[in-house]
Subunit: 399 residues, 3 copies
Amino acid sequence: MKTIKTTDEFKALVEKIKAQPHYKDPIGFGIARVDMGQKNEDQVLQANFPLINWNENFGSAAIFMAALEASGETVATNESESVHSIDFNFINYALASFAPYVGEAFGDVHKNVQVIKTLQNLAIEAGIREGEYKVVFLFEDTKPCSVEAVYLKLYALSQAKVPLRGICLDGAFGVLPNVAWSGSTPIELEWLRENEIELKLSGSYPDITSVDKFPRFLQHIIPQDNTRILEASKVRMGAQLAAGTTVMPGASYINFNAGTTGAVMVEGRISSSAIVGKGSDVGGGASILGVLSGTNGNPVSIGENTLLGANSVCGIPLGDGCIIDAGLSILEGTKVHINEAAVKMIQAVNSGLVISEDGYYKGLTLAGMNGIHFRFDTIQNRLVATRSKREIVLNDELH
Amino acid sequence: MKTIKTTDEFKALVEKIKAQPHYKDPIGFGIARVDMGQKNEDQVLQANFPLINWNENFGSAAIFMAALEASGETVATNESESVHSIDFNFINYALASFAPYVGEAFGDVHKNVQVIKTLQNLAIEAGIREGEYKVVFLFEDTKPCSVEAVYLKLYALSQAKVPLRGICLDGAFGVLPNVAWSGSTPIELEWLRENEIELKLSGSYPDITSVDKFPRFLQHIIPQDNTRILEASKVRMGAQLAAGTTVMPGASYINFNAGTTGAVMVEGRISSSAIVGKGSDVGGGASILGVLSGTNGNPVSIGENTLLGANSVCGIPLGDGCIIDAGLSILEGTKVHINEAAVKMIQAVNSGLVISEDGYYKGLTLAGMNGIHFRFDTIQNRLVATRSKREIVLNDELH
Amino acid sequence: MKTIKTTDEFKALVEKIKAQPHYKDPIGFGIARVDMGQKNEDQVLQANFPLINWNENFGSAAIFMAALEASGETVATNESESVHSIDFNFINYALASFAPYVGEAFGDVHKNVQVIKTLQNLAIEAGIREGEYKVVFLFEDTKPCSVEAVYLKLYALSQAKVPLRGICLDGAFGVLPNVAWSGSTPIELEWLRENEIELKLSGSYPDITSVDKFPRFLQHIIPQDNTRILEASKVRMGAQLAAGTTVMPGASYINFNAGTTGAVMVEGRISSSAIVGKGSDVGGGASILGVLSGTNGNPVSIGENTLLGANSVCGIPLGDGCIIDAGLSILEGTKVHINEAAVKMIQAVNSGLVISEDGYYKGLTLAGMNGIHFRFDTIQNRLVATRSKREIVLNDELH
């Protein structure tokens, strides 16, 4: 590989690579440092991506593919994903190709080039352990087959490169090994067992912070400046938090493929597949049910400026400006009374609410509606809904 | 002590030791590395057992007793427990006795021999600090008197060597010192106070993760491969988790002497003395009350395939296939209405339900029954019970 | 500065300093080691106080002011706070002044002298980095303007030098930077972003435990011997915990400017500004609302020997000996029925309860009353209040 001298030469090289019959633009790609098993040295436990690319930077993708092929590797562009170890040849090929950009690759500019430069420095200083660095390509959004591909997709979700529920993670639990985590370091349970006697007697048994297939969001993701996560265990990798979201450490939890699309105060649980909109408030201990827990497989979206009171449970989608009072549970089958006056006020901000003869409405009937206040009327002693006094922000983009 | 050459010689030695008048088989024993006080250097703060023996391996117990006596120690077989420091003589005596097994002591075989071999290596490399290693015997299951004995019993619970509620831990809170934990390292609060000025000004104040008498389960116990604990603080040492149990990090907690007897999804609280059966689900924020909190001292067992909905509270034992809907509290005194048809269906899967004239049943009356679904009827506006649609697995072993 | 020889000389020096026209006794002062930004090296991220003084030790304050002025600094006694870097001159001046006390400054005696001695040792060993050590004075309890002043006030709260709600923290969120915490070490998010590629590829990305403006209580405060905090994330710096308080790791949380005034079992949430009295019990998942969440700005105080049941929600102040049953929500607007007999029994232990004609009472009407038991009557199917059977401890100091 001779060194590329100009950006025009670089573009020509990229075009030449892309013209090859088996070439295909990846939907996502990136280079990761992987953690390998202590006992099963070929088992990937975790992939750490300093940068992922998602439907972007195809020039770098082309260079990486060519660099692999120059090292004798074949990129499986006809498969859904392709994962390859990186060696010195790969780094040298990529650096020679990126040469016109190396001088200006700082800060937010040419980040793939920065990755290669950093790799070269590390390789020169410390050598490269076989299999420590991987380049990962995704060509189709189907079931991920490798640990590296699962992580690439989790990064895509957590860095908001794809919307929540916008990517296929089927089978991820089968692909990821269950490991003990000592902070950011994954450790095989079997290795701990085999070494328990020596580790414990020598006082070097590791401090285990969790046992799970997934790492924590904060092990991999740097949040926005105005986002707060008061305890790392409360947000799983693969969650998505919009800027300004605050996650308190009481009873809260945000699972993977769940999260917020605007600044939200989170003091309760956002289960897998649930989404909460801007200005809403998930009160202390409130539960938003997930697709596996009581919603009949219907994922729950909560609109904007909606309040879930402390210890409430929400099993239906809600629109904007709703309130569930503290301690109430509103599930698909929950029956709520709405008087005539309230029905009219609710109809004024919603389409599609058909009047019920007996005045009772099932939770599922009210799914996704705006401006509903769920209350327990302690005089009539029944669950009622009225028009909430919360503002409904008409947001064309979302409605 | 001369080296034992054959397994027959070993057996003869064991028989000889056991024939001594004061000998007694221990119910539990093991060797621990202990953490001592930073200020009170004689105060044991924690005991780390690489292996415990529970009604098993009496040959090793006999050798350890003889090894102690060869070092001039007297094992108090007439007491409930006996704790002794280990020195080089002890190690040499034990190794000489175990000689026929040393060569094959690897993996899961002859683990007590592995402990002694490892101790010898550590002692040769680094010497033995007085009091760092202890051998601990339990002869009776009464109140534990030493930190080491409490830990041995907590290990017995957490490694499922004894069933939950199957061991005496009375007075354990009085025996264990309250310490600051920096990860797995216990630190005396008084030492922190005395050194606060220097630690803080020099930037070496330790990162304190908890202050408690008990350590965390994961500091000492390696879970099964399919068990997950997403946050270490959520399970106290002395809890017992059957394989396949998952503990989520939201509002969950499993106290000591509490846990699961089969694969359970835990997103709520299992208080001390509470037990949950296979296939059951403790929903997000659900609370199972403990003997000290609202159950009049009656410990709560939950059967198999039972669901505690999100933010529900359970203060009575439940059988198999029950449901408490999200947000409901069922305590001993809670009155629930059951209509005649439902009573018949519930009677079909339970014995002992006597018909109430007014249709109301106290929680305590329904304690331990199968197939009950606790719901809030939002038309009649009352708490009702019906026959749940959950399958009741008839399990001879358990019923 | 010549060395002071006697305590009389010391007192004379202090009087001379205090006689200066611009001198003023500070309400609080102390010396801190501060953590500075990795990227913005002038940004203070955290202040670590080995000792704070609050309306006390004015002699030390005078010496510190004089020491600063001897170094050419001007202490802004006419401002609400004044923060100054410490150099060798400061240390030498202070030590020379404290000379009569240096020999006896150990244990609990002369702690400001201990601070200076320790600083001198550290400075001699390792030098002093510009800006690493600060002396902080507060002259007025108004909005804090510096990170150092916010921390001094948080220490005053958490060390119970001032009562809860007894100090001005307005604007503290604006003053504190939002940072990533790796244990006790604050790290700028922007620095992480700039170094993400190198940190991740080299395997040295830090283990981030939270992202917040506030540190955790246990990073700075040593609790009493009988106080337990089972998970550090559950108590924010600025909370106040009376001796004997236990904080469980399930759904609990104690925010800053909130806490306990006696031994309390905490398994739920004590929101900012809420206070709980001796012998009370905040049940698993119970929520005490804060001024920003449903109490119309009225801070909630809970008296002594009061029980908040599991998953209950409390939005009104409660007196002594009250009970909210598991799962109930009592807010300002909640209507509760009280029958005539119960009203009389409640009036016997409270003044000011006016009889309602329809038998219904709003939560706000019952605010702060003693001996009330909030229950859901499952026969009448309504929320009721009765006279609780809990003892009401008449405590002159508090009532």
